[in-house]
């Protein structure tokens, strides 16, 4: 027993040594990037993961090594936000990125204590001279997937699942409903808010109820909770039902893949948080960091939109979406971002 154990330990050590040999990374640590997740975690298949991918992309291009030039800290609970942001500040990181409006208060508090560190917050505006705030026109992207949903539905009923009911998610909701309405005003949009971004079980249950009510396309803006909706759609499609789900934040086509290689994800409303993270790192590196500014990413900047590849959409629908996109970019259609604006829009 003892022999086996020591053998195991030795072999672990040896493997560790071998793994340590390969060295192809940059040694330069004069510029370091820190990323703090919210409570959703780094692998939420959505917001945090997307932002982190942007950091990783930049790191790969510059031969950075995780743990040396770039690093992330996960937050277990809200009380961790300030310590986690400060941890990077204490360590003199050059740029610290946090995704999510939940970081608003903590960023406002932490940023002034580290005037030499550049902070970036996504989805929220923090008025501090060393914080760049990146926001998106989610309603515009949601409008486009609304068009796709309206073209895909046969039951004339589509669904929207929101994570938590607040203004940001209402932007998705309003844009989506407006998009559906523009194609066919008789289509009914059913909505439900889960109250949680991290509960796939609940998402699946809501999706199941909606499909049972005759909804055949669901758009989710619910992070991890929405993964449950994707699962439900996948299961039903595998059983021969003609239902779809629309992904959010990232291209979620892969997440909806079924046994036959096709996907239950009709299309996705992409929010290029990765681009935002990438650009901010680049700007900080070049000494052009837009501290104190608000950067708004819209359809015109390709900050939001649908994926380039949409195997589940007809060419005609893609063409129609392109036309709507042009109209929105040109300002011919003003997409509603709140429920009040949506009510006006529908009138």
């Amino acid at each position: 027993m003892k022999k086996a154990l020591s053998l195991l330990l030795v072999s672990i050590l040896v493997i560790g040594l071998l793994a340590g040999c390969a060295e192809k990374y940059s040694e330069d640590v004069s510029f370091r990037v820190g990323f703090v997740t919210d409570t959703g975690g780094i692998d939420d298949k959505s917001f945090n993961q997307g932002t982190w991918e942007g950091v990783q992309k930049y790191a790969e291009e510059n031969k950075w090594k995780e743990g040396r030039q770039y690093k992330y800290i996960q937050s277990n609970e809200e009380a961790d936000y300030i310590p986690n942001l400060s941890a990077f500040g204490d360590d003199n990181y050059n740029i610290v990125i946090a995704a999510g409006f939940l970081f608003g208060d903590s960023m406002t508090e932490v940023a002034p204590q580290y005037p030499d560190t550049n902070f970036t917050i996504i989805d929220m505006v923090v008025a501090q001279p060393n914080v760049a705030s990146v926001v998106f026109a989610e309603e515009q992207g949601s409008f486009l997937v609304g068009v796709a949903a309206a073209r895909a539905t046969k039951t004339k009923k589509v669904g929207f699942i929101g994570g938590v009911d607040f203004d940001l998610i209402r932007k998705f909701h309003a844009g989506f409903a407006a998009g559906v309405h523009s194609v066919d005003p008789t289509i009914e949009v059913i909505d439900q808010y889960a109250g949680d971004f991290g509960n796939p079980g609940l998402g699946q249950q809501i999706a199941s109820t909606m499909y049972d009510q005759g909804v055949d396309v669901i758009y989710h803006a619910a992070g991890g909770t929405g993964n449950g909706a994707i699962n439900e759609a996948k299961g039903r499609r595998e059983n021969g039902e003609d239902v779809w789900v629309i992904g959010v934040d990232k291209d979620q086509y892969e997440d909806g893949k079924m046994a036959d290689g096709k996907s239950a994800v009709l299309t996705s409303m992409m929010k290029r948080v990765d681009v935002a993270a990438y650009n901010m790192i680049q700007a900080a590196k070049d000494g052009k960091f837009p501290g104190g500014e608000i950067i708004a990413l819209t359809l015109a900047d390709d900050g939001v939109g649908i994926p380039e590849e949409n195997p589940n959409l007809d060419k005609a629908v893609v063409k129609e979406i392109e036309d709507y996109k042009k109209k929105i970019v040109a300002g011919e259609i003003k997409v509603p971002a709140t429920m009040d604006e949506l009510a006006d829009f529908i009138k």
Binding site: I73, E78, A79, A87, D90, F166, D196, G198
Partner: protein
């Protein structure tokens, strides 16, 4: 040395110390298996707790609610009740503190005690329900408290949103006179969130010790915990004591909530799920042997693991390692009988 370890009188503190030691050793083994140097991991943990004044302050911030939930659970244990409901009592306590903090406008020396008292009362009321159901209808408190946790979570989330000025995620800030935070403490710890709550937690431990060990009332509560039938025969009001124990236990948890809402944050937050302070409290109580002063120490230890987790993450140690260490410590603390047996046998083989 061996005699010292074998002496049962010393077991009271030797056993928890060994549990902690074993917990860290087990954590080190996990780190080695996952390819992390445990020395670096633990160095990061220590640095993350005492590395600079701010981290030192954050350590106390993380510890105060844990000490209170530890006291809450321990009070239940001492009186024969298993209060899983600290989480829910904490949530209502934190909300009550914020409500009084926002709407009552009086000078700080009245306001702050009032805020804390309302948190304790709210927690006590939330503890009253399971206590009453247990005393009156013999409904097991574990079942009721678990359900009460969910009721508290969703009810309070709703109530926070209903407060004037609240957004969908938080209430407005409390009045400065209701806040436990202190410019002075924050300044000497380099802008940490250190607040007066820590002193109150120590005070709570003293109150705990006093009630349990030094009053007839506490003696009765303990006696009911040991043997309700015998206590009743001896003329004690068993039902009343069960209800009172649950209420006091709830009051401690309610104060834990005040530590968070008027200490760490200064506003009430809508949370998606329970944050685990109540469950961590079970661990704190177990390790602290359910005694007031040891709970301060075990609360500080778990607080350190919490506060140090961001520094450990910076040293590329996953936050889960911290949880695993906590779990191991609890496991070994729960195995205290085995450790005692092991200690008693020490040295015997040599003879």
């Amino acid at each position: 040395m061996i005699d010292f370890l074998r002496n049962e009188k010393n077991h009271k503190f030797v056993v928890p110390l060994l549990s902690v030691l074993f917990g860290f050793l087990a954590g080190a083994i996990i780190m080695i298996i996952t390819g992390i140097n445990p020395l670096e991991g633990y160095r990061a943990l220590v640095k993350g707790v005492v590395g600079n004044p701010r981290k030192f302050g954050e350590w106390f911030v993380a510890s105060s609610p844990l000490i209170f939930t530890g006291l809450s659970v321990a009070f239940g244990f001492r009186t024969g009740l298993f209060n899983i409901g600290a989480e829910g009592q904490l949530i209502v306590g934190s909300f009550a503190a914020v409500v009084v903090g926002i709407f009552v406008d009086v000078p700080a020396y009245i306001h702050l005690p009032l805020v804390l008292m309302s948190a304790a009362v709210a927690g006590a009321l939330w503890g009253f329900v399971p206590g009453f159901l247990k005393a009156k209808y013999k409904v097991h408190e574990v079942v009721v408290t678990i359900m009460m946790n969910y009721s508290a979570l969703h009810l309070i989330n709703y109530a926070i949103k209903a407060l004037p000025g609240s957004t969908k995620t938080r209430s407005v800030d409390i009045l400065p006179s209701a806040s436990l935070s202190s410019e002075f403490l924050s300044n000497i710890t380099n802008h940490s969130r250190l607040h007066w709550g820590f002193l109150i937690a120590v005070l709570g431990a003293i109150v705990f010790w006093f009630i349990i060990e030094r009053t007839t009332f506490g003696y009765e509560l303990r006696s009911v915990g040991f043997n309700p039938t015998a206590s009743e025969y001896a003329g004690m009001k068993v039902n009343r004591n069960i209800i009172l124990s649950m209420m006091i236990s709830g009051a401690f948890a309610g104060l834990a909530g005040a530590m968070i809402s008027v200490g760490t944050f200064d506003y009430a937050r809508v949370i998606a799920s329970a944050e685990g302070y109540g469950f961590d409290g079970i661990a704190v109580a177990l390790l602290g042997n359910n005694s007031g002063f040891a709970i301060i120490i075990s609360g500080m230890l778990f607080g350190a693991l919490k506060a140090g987790s961001s520094a450990m993450a910076l040293a590329s140690v996953p936050k889960e390692i911290g949880h695993i260490i906590m779990a191991f410590i609890v496991l070994f603390a729960a195995m205290n009988y085995g450790i005692k047996r092991f200690l008693a046998r020490l040295g015997k083989e040599e003879k």
